[in-house]
Symmetry: C2
Subunit: 485 residues, 2 copies
């Protein structure tokens, strides 16, 4: 279609509204849109600036500006003797509106969500955080607003190192610490560094946290499963795996809740020395141990062989996105280089804010407060499960915010979880955490059927209702297994 | 050495101070330290809990707790009939203190730093930021403190999309936007996604931003250089490179300051359509254009072929660490998956804070304010350079916060930069930005000798002094080139 510019044509394309902001912008935006939508096709000749100015009753200079802008942007082209024409900007230039990409479905509100790994979100110390950021804007040196120290804020590295020594019996200095934006980022950097240093294979706990095999493969490593039993990772099997690296959750195994036993800890350290290996310690849930003082970090036991990873996702909130890595010198520089090339790391004001929370005792106060909340929930969970399922069904309650609920023998995990979902309770079966091989297969698990109950973000009322519903769901799916997991 | 526990031995290892906090912690920490330092060697038998309690004059229960803790942590082991002994925890267990890893040298204060890419750090709107974070802690829904929408805050995606459309003439919806922690993270995700989709090679501007070739190689891509001339990237050379992807800085080329010319823009878009290619647009410095309205983003010209990357590192401050990617649907899901597996992205409160700054007009107000500061500096730079070096020596002043200073023919870039450094002025020669091949070689550049002057974070007094010093340095290193760049 050729536009007849002489007889009101432009009104179809450009409608100037004198009360709606700069005329130049209006004309420009509308011409651009018309070109994109191919209402003005490639090769179409535009009227002279004088003519269009007359038609639109605007100053000629305005139209000159518009044409120059669109020429500079490539929407128009101008050749001597031929006037100004619409340029060919490619048929894929936006005229066909694209379907929206659904990258994550919004979760509909659920009455009870036993998803593992979410802390009590109503307890997040938001006013403390706000105070700390405000303070950080006053105290952070101006130069630190530019490119920061690549390993992260020196101040925060000092503070988390002191915390790691004091609370986790760690053995590190601020020189060993690298600040990252949460556990996953630290893991990705550490794995990439192992791959670069010629460590081709990593052993992972089975069952274990989701996605770790995938993350390891993306970093260029082969991932192999090592089973977890009642004392944690089976070190004998690790020894036979041929791996020189292992990633594990010794303080409170995810998802079984098992604490790595003392002799396993020693065996593991001995293994690392024997094979010139490295242990990646996901120092997870260690802050919340109910029956006794937490077991110290493996890192403290053998700093030269352990890369320890921690974060505040479980202690403050996932959305804070701050964590740390303590790495032996032979890995630290590589991890910092990964950080430099892939993101430059975490926001400086947030780092300073976290340091302030930890230095001023607010972080510890928060931990004491939520520990009591979790202890109450844990005790309630134990009582409710005993009431609904009978004694001895829970495992992994010594620490953290999740536990394993053993279903009656022969129950179908997936059947129970699916039935619960129809009654408004979201819960993952243990098999959800099985190691998945590269071709998508999962090895059979040495555990009886079970559900993983995260109770960090479930209040007492939800917890009572949730367990009652799970008991009903379990009744329906008791008896002989009707599926092959 | 065997410790004689009977005669004051433990005092060498454990000195209890009744005014220094919990006795249990003191004893525990000191025993741990002694085991790590091998003052207590592997196999060493510890006294009975009763005996140690007597020696230290503490309650026996305290010592029982300590032993149990250290047993659980693997420092001690206990066998029936043999009492409690020190476990073998590996010879590398921390007794030899390690040298600190120097991961980034602290930069000594420099009177004048023409480093490119740092905005005016004294103008960062810190009180606005503090206000916005505080507001975000009040407005962010509780659920958003947990795992966020993986593409990033919906609210921020809406806001940056509106900004991109309004200020950058972009053509995207919030569905196309992914929030990242700055440009580099967005780049790393986009490159990894290209590699996964079977695009093996990417063309990079030469000269161009540092590290991009290295980052591309780490993502699994081959990087090839394409020269930049007075009109920006040479699209003819791009065509002959065989690459189907290109990364460039069209709004203000880094480091030459050239703006990609209108016909080049059209050629580039046509190339992308011809080769089924993809353009990575580093939409950098576009906010600061002095002579006229900024040229719109390439993304707006061909949304199906352009991945646009932006951040607030130059507009607010690098330390905020927030950026965005606008990606066509066929890449968006891959980029979100990279984000999910490698870091989960940016802090939720910060995302909300940035959305608030942009929505309330504070961001625009800040931009107007700093644009005037940069305009003044730019005009001063032009005047000072003309005074010191004569006319026509500067290029790339139409936009942004850096420019290219052409040195007299035959000058040694590196010599001038080194001489300036001895006089307290830090500046990078243009050759610093040359494309470097995998084996470390750099191709010769088609530019005369030049220095890259970043003036974003240099105040007027520093700027005057800096240019005078550069002129002195250039005088010393004029004449025939004494080096092969």
């Amino acid at each position: 279609m050729t536009v007849d510019w002489g007889r009101g044509g432009p009104d179809l394309l450009v409608a100037v509204d004198r009360d709606a902001g700069p005329l130049r912008t209006q004309i420009q935006d509308q011409l651009r849109a018309a070109i994109r939508d191919q209402r003005l096709g490639a090769g179409e000749r535009l009227p002279s600036t004088r003519r269009l100015a007359e038609l639109l009753e605007v100053a000629r200079g305005t139209v000159v500006d518009v044409y120059e802008q669109l020429l500079a942007e490539g929407y128009l082209e101008s050749t001597v003797g031929s006037g100004t024409r619409v340029a060919a900007i490619g048929s894929s230039g936006g005229s066909a509106r694209r379907a929206p990409v659904v990258v994550s479905a919004p979760s509909s509100p659920r009455p009870v969500d036993f998803e593992y790994g979410i802390p009590d979100l109503r307890s997040v110390p938001l006013s403390d955080w706000s105070w700390a950021v405000s303070k950080a804007t006053q105290t952070l040196p101006t130069a630190a607003l530019g490119d920061e120290d690549l390993a992260g804020s020196r101040n925060l590295r000092e503070v988390v190192t002191a915390y790691h020594r004091r609370v986790r019996a760690g053995w590190a200095t601020a020189e060993d610490a690298i600040i990252v934006s949460g556990f996953r980022q630290g893991l990705a950097f550490a794995l990439a560094t192992l791959a670069r240093q010629g460590i081709p294979r990593i052993a992972l706990e089975d069952p274990g946290p989701r996605d770790h095999a995938l993350i390891a493969r993306r970093a260029g490593l082969e991932a192999v499963p090592v089973p977890v039993d009642d004392h944690g990772l089976d070190v004998g099997r690790l020894r036979r795996s041929g791996a020189r690296a292992v990633l594990l959750t010794p303080a409170h195994q995810c998802p079984t809740g098992v604490v790595l036993g003392p002799s396993r800890r020693r065996d593991l350290i001995a293994w690392a020395d024997e094979v010139d290996g490295v242990i990646l310690e996901d120092d997870y849930d260690a802050e919340f141990r109910y029956d006794r003082q937490p077991v110290g970090s493996l890192q403290g036991l053998n700093p030269a062989r352990v890369i320890a990873l921690g974060s505040v996702s479980k202690t403050l909130a996932p959305t804070i996105r701050l964590g740390w890595v303590f790495a032996p010198p032979r890995f630290a520089a590589g991890i910092v280089e990964e950080k430099r090339l892939s993101s430059r790391g975490a926001p400086g004001l947030d780092q300073e804010a976290l340091a302030l929370l930890m230095e001023t005792g607010r972080f510890d106060r928060h931990l004491r407060r939520v520990r009591e909340i979790y202890r109450t929930r844990r005790d309630l969970l134990a009582a409710e499960v005993e009431h609904a399922f009978g004694p001895g069904r829970l495992r992994g309650l010594a620490a953290g915010c999740h536990a394993l609920l053993h279903l009656p023998d022969g129950s179908s995990e997936r059947g129970v979880a699916a039935a619960a979902e129809t009654m408004g309770v979201r819960v993952n079966p243990l098999s959800h955490y099985r190691f998945v091989t590269e071709d998508g297969r999962a090895a059979p698990l040495g555990f009886p059927p079970a559900l993983v109950l995260g109770f960090g973000n479930v209040d007492e009322q939800q917890l009572r209702r949730g367990i009652r519903i799970l008991a009903r769901a379990a009744e329906r799916h008791a008896g002989p297994a009707r599926e092959r997991e």
